[in-house]
Symmetry: D3
Subunit: 272 residues, 6 copies
Amino acid sequence: MTPNRLKRAWAEGRTTLNGWLAIGNAFSAEIMADAGFDCLTIDLQHGFLDYSDVKGMFQAMRASGVTPMARAPWREPGIVMKLLDAGAFGVICPMINTPEEAADLVSMVRYPPLGTRSFGPTRVNFAAGPDYAAHANDEVMVIAMIETAEAFANLDAICATPGLDGVYIGPADLTLSLSNGALPAGLDREEPEMIEAIQTILAAAKRAGIGTILHCGTPEYGARAVGWGCDMVTIAADVSLLSAGSKAAVARTRALLGGDGQGDADGSPSSY
Amino acid sequence: MTPNRLKRAWAEGRTTLNGWLAIGNAFSAEIMADAGFDCLTIDLQHGFLDYSDVKGMFQAMRASGVTPMARAPWREPGIVMKLLDAGAFGVICPMINTPEEAADLVSMVRYPPLGTRSFGPTRVNFAAGPDYAAHANDEVMVIAMIETAEAFANLDAICATPGLDGVYIGPADLTLSLSNGALPAGLDREEPEMIEAIQTILAAAKRAGIGTILHCGTPEYGARAVGWGCDMVTIAADVSLLSAGSKAAVARTRALLGGDGQGDADGSPSSY
Amino acid sequence: MTPNRLKRAWAEGRTTLNGWLAIGNAFSAEIMADAGFDCLTIDLQHGFLDYSDVKGMFQAMRASGVTPMARAPWREPGIVMKLLDAGAFGVICPMINTPEEAADLVSMVRYPPLGTRSFGPTRVNFAAGPDYAAHANDEVMVIAMIETAEAFANLDAICATPGLDGVYIGPADLTLSLSNGALPAGLDREEPEMIEAIQTILAAAKRAGIGTILHCGTPEYGARAVGWGCDMVTIAADVSLLSAGSKAAVARTRALLGGDGQGDADGSPSSY
Amino acid sequence: MTPNRLKRAWAEGRTTLNGWLAIGNAFSAEIMADAGFDCLTIDLQHGFLDYSDVKGMFQAMRASGVTPMARAPWREPGIVMKLLDAGAFGVICPMINTPEEAADLVSMVRYPPLGTRSFGPTRVNFAAGPDYAAHANDEVMVIAMIETAEAFANLDAICATPGLDGVYIGPADLTLSLSNGALPAGLDREEPEMIEAIQTILAAAKRAGIGTILHCGTPEYGARAVGWGCDMVTIAADVSLLSAGSKAAVARTRALLGGDGQGDADGSPSSY
Amino acid sequence: MTPNRLKRAWAEGRTTLNGWLAIGNAFSAEIMADAGFDCLTIDLQHGFLDYSDVKGMFQAMRASGVTPMARAPWREPGIVMKLLDAGAFGVICPMINTPEEAADLVSMVRYPPLGTRSFGPTRVNFAAGPDYAAHANDEVMVIAMIETAEAFANLDAICATPGLDGVYIGPADLTLSLSNGALPAGLDREEPEMIEAIQTILAAAKRAGIGTILHCGTPEYGARAVGWGCDMVTIAADVSLLSAGSKAAVARTRALLGGDGQGDADGSPSSY
Amino acid sequence: MTPNRLKRAWAEGRTTLNGWLAIGNAFSAEIMADAGFDCLTIDLQHGFLDYSDVKGMFQAMRASGVTPMARAPWREPGIVMKLLDAGAFGVICPMINTPEEAADLVSMVRYPPLGTRSFGPTRVNFAAGPDYAAHANDEVMVIAMIETAEAFANLDAICATPGLDGVYIGPADLTLSLSNGALPAGLDREEPEMIEAIQTILAAAKRAGIGTILHCGTPEYGARAVGWGCDMVTIAADVSLLSAGSKAAVARTRALLGGDGQGDADGSPSSY
């Protein structure tokens, strides 16, 4: 089986970078797979895409060697197992609130005797190699999202779940839940209580010997989070790159053109 | 019929901005349609997409009010007319090299008595309104690409084609053709002879009273081109935004993390 | 955020009309969105479509201003939340049989502190506006289907569920369940006991101060249902329009042509 | 090979009915195939669909036994031959203006020695049977559209093209072209000169011993056209059925509800 | 309603053959439907496909008369009911471990009073006929997979579930579970304990008067399984046919060409 | 740029094997790409697929390193150039009958100064590398199909076309054309005159110093053709593998089961 390079990087203590895919398109995935991320996660929960899009995206990412990951829409066995069979080297599951839920999630991802995953690696046998079945329990990663007050209260118990490879911190939901809706959703929190909450989760995971990922909105916040001990940081998402990038290009051009919308006749933009 | 806002802007002498779509996805098109461009062009020639993608992209762009344009893969009547029926308010056609080709192109876009476009505005009747047929000859724009030495030699004759609304300058092909392969392809030319060639085309179009568009790679070059008299400049493309943006995010994060790939323990990236 | 026009209409006591989409196609959705309905519901339960079709349908409906609604395939959090993130301004959920199920449904649709919806309005941020998150709890509608004997027995308790916006009556399932299979399924019931059952539900909802919708097969029955107090009636469905309409066209033509299948030589169909 | 039932019907002098598909969806095609038409034509010229949609539509129509036909986007050999390989039992080609064009079209549809169609009935071998190749030259129909002044001038020569099975009259384009844009486009013409033009075409085809089809907008006009001698009439189209049908349902309901939008409390719509 | 030919064959004691579809494509399904199987099962659990693919596959299989079956991804009511509405004449559900789960599954498949299936046979009404609703409870088959140690322990109780039509034996999962991971997954087991386990299941089903299906990898093993009493055997799968077949063609050619990769000049392969 | 391994193999005199893709699916392409072919050709001419399918197929093949080739539907510049931009390392064009047509084809595939290919390697820049433009004229292969009597008459002139990399022999069309329809279409010809015709083409190409490919139906015929001097032989196609393979599995099982369709009770198939 193709080794899970993300898992190896973590084992070697290397910091890793994750990209986020919420546009359901194989070409945008192929473009992102060319950018140098260690891992790309297809978001089936909030992304504007579903399994039918995932197929081509995993295929388009295969040549790059980037580790293909998926966030499941929910802790539902049908889709979790389908994502693995489709080629995910790791599954991130939202809203894991109790150790029972964490154990249930792990069970979906592991073949017996470690779990109850059903056997049928139809496509992943091609993508990862015909010996996939023999190595999947070792290579495939299972990540629980910690993003509610309930999960926060159960932090150590969740992190102690046998077989769990790591936790993923979703700052938006975590903020909504810990503040009971008092703070607005959003990434890259600056409130001291939220930074403390994030660091508390990181510390608990570290104690349990599992990995940590933080969903960030910028390279700058990502770098801070690495400083807090994150094994991986999500630093860019296709939707934001396209939306912010295109708006910036329009704004920049209009600014260069000045208020009258007319360029300078000498061809130099310096005077705008 | 919904007015063609791009045509009105040109009539009023307002400079306009175009975005470029080469990813065949309705969501990326919807995102780009939210960015403030005057016009978005779906590239059926070099884009990684075809008519089957165009359908959803035009639908996703409709609510924004941005003018929907398409570049045809070639001067072939089947696809040119299909793009119009699908909702394009303008068609850009590559490699128009002679006035005869320009006239042929115009003919595909105009209903009798101005041309030979076949009648059947099946979807555009919904997108543009049930009175589309009565106004299409006035509202729909037809743009010829000037991008070869042969076209350059026929410049005034092409620009004089009755019914032609404008010319689109493709700097990559124009450079390859004018230099007979001696200069590499690419946008945002700095060679004096290429800038002169571009300005020659702009001047010819202006003399003929038709519009001008230049395909640019940056807002900065776009602003320069406006200074040269362009009515519209293409300043951003989905593929570049995603590719360059994701690479920049990775590079920025790695730079912040320094050579050892580890963040600063105090959580501040300032020391990287 | 774009206001939910359906919710406002109900608040103002205006009767509203709903159209039903069971063909998974963005163009048929765009056509239906042009017809004057207040609301269009994409049926993910019994429609021949799934989430992969919904994406383009919501995008194609956006320009029309019709309120986009979806019926979830089942009370499963993964898909319910995905429909909201994709742009649904309301979710109709089948087979809500107990107040606990109703409360669970409401919880999926509301952000904290009102519920447990996970945050990530990826596409709806573009369709409804970047301030979506601040208004979604107020604007998004959650509708429970009352269509079983068990639900009927729990009627008042279900209607009293905090946050529930309305009930949707599915006459086919309700008939099957209340009659324990003795009566055939179908819309536009004429049995006195079924009309009474429907009116009982309407009355309970009205007492609870929530809205009511009845799934009807014809404008005529829809108008009767409005007379019974429905806030919205579903009066047309894409499949029926196409199926009944095409059969009627064939039958009408064959009738005009008479038994011999030959038209009248003078060009007048009056003699057939 | 499955016999071409449309061809047999014409041979036996039976009048036949055609349905029109411009929505690119296999389910709407399957619904229409259930309605009793003799033939269904997928419109690749003006329909909001292309070859990628045709595949599933032909497959969905197969079980019904309706004769599958396609209108090509243009007289281009690539797509014409692809449609045949995909399962079309007949091809209608727009804008055949000269006998040379008609002969060229016929050549694309016939294997040697009758034409130059390339061999490779990949899917049609399954849909029509493994002996397709032996019978295709006899069974597959090729239909030229007569819809321009130039075609009208060349009428007898076009109709005399060896191998041509029939002509299809497109009233909208024919009107635009014959009137040089003076008359508006549209179906079901009532102008005496247009009815005469149509009858002139029908007579020429009859003299040449080939079939005739008229594109009509209603059963009523279709029946008149049969009276004029048409072998087949197109009497219904998916887009119109859906658009007109949904608008009629909304209008009918609003009319029943009266100006105040409120139904009658006794449940009877009779008082609206 | 079109009769369920598979059910009739079982009732008459005829052995039946099943083909397996894990490629999400309507053409490969149409090809397989032409091969003479009694039944084709689309695998939504481990196949590289989902509901969005199933639509076209069922449509493409319809003309052949082969019985269309689907394996659900999991015992989740949303997708199970959707598969039935889409045209499945039978549903196979993985991982049925207890009689309660079996009863729950049956309930999803039967309309009241036999179960709780929701009414809305939108597409199957066309595929199976407008009287589908009246016959579905009799015609539609529901099959439980027996593939875990827990299910094995509950064998008789599961088989006794009222309304269950049969059991499907998945040897790969059954082996993993019964051996607690000690034996590798795979089909066509030769271990005596596994053959015994399979025969134990077959005997239990026979005692309960329900049907039996074994998933086999070859015709040879399938024939053996028929000898053990299977009512149906799965003997071929699209992925294996394509993968093994293409590898065999390459290997065979390379073998014919010998070590030097050069054919014999006389054109005869006999000397390779 | 990723080197064109097929071109290198030919340069080194190694015999190569080609697989044929006529099913429009990325997974079947990925499966075939795993089988050991040197090259895979997607057939846009007779395959049941078009450009919209090609996108995902090329992406799914990328990781394998197999050389991706496409057969264009026809010598039409729009689609030929699109295939190259999408990632084809070679284009096979049907029905090249004259040296002028061959030169026109070559021109479409080469950037200036060697041809008139328009610049815009949008996706191939990712698949082949950002230096694609600098190497494409050297690496991309252009292959003319020789399959008509006219082409046969122009054989040497076609083969002498500057820039042409090879000829592809289509035996079915060649037979139809040379025999003027007297011989049936089909592969693996045994008629002496057809074998001679094939060998004549091979000899002409060899004299011109260009490569040769023969479309074969079996490894055995492929090996013979290598003996005749073919540089590459097409030996397997997805449709045939699936169709013949599934039919063989059914037949083999039925044969094992004997005439009564019942297996042997002792579980051994030896007695069937």
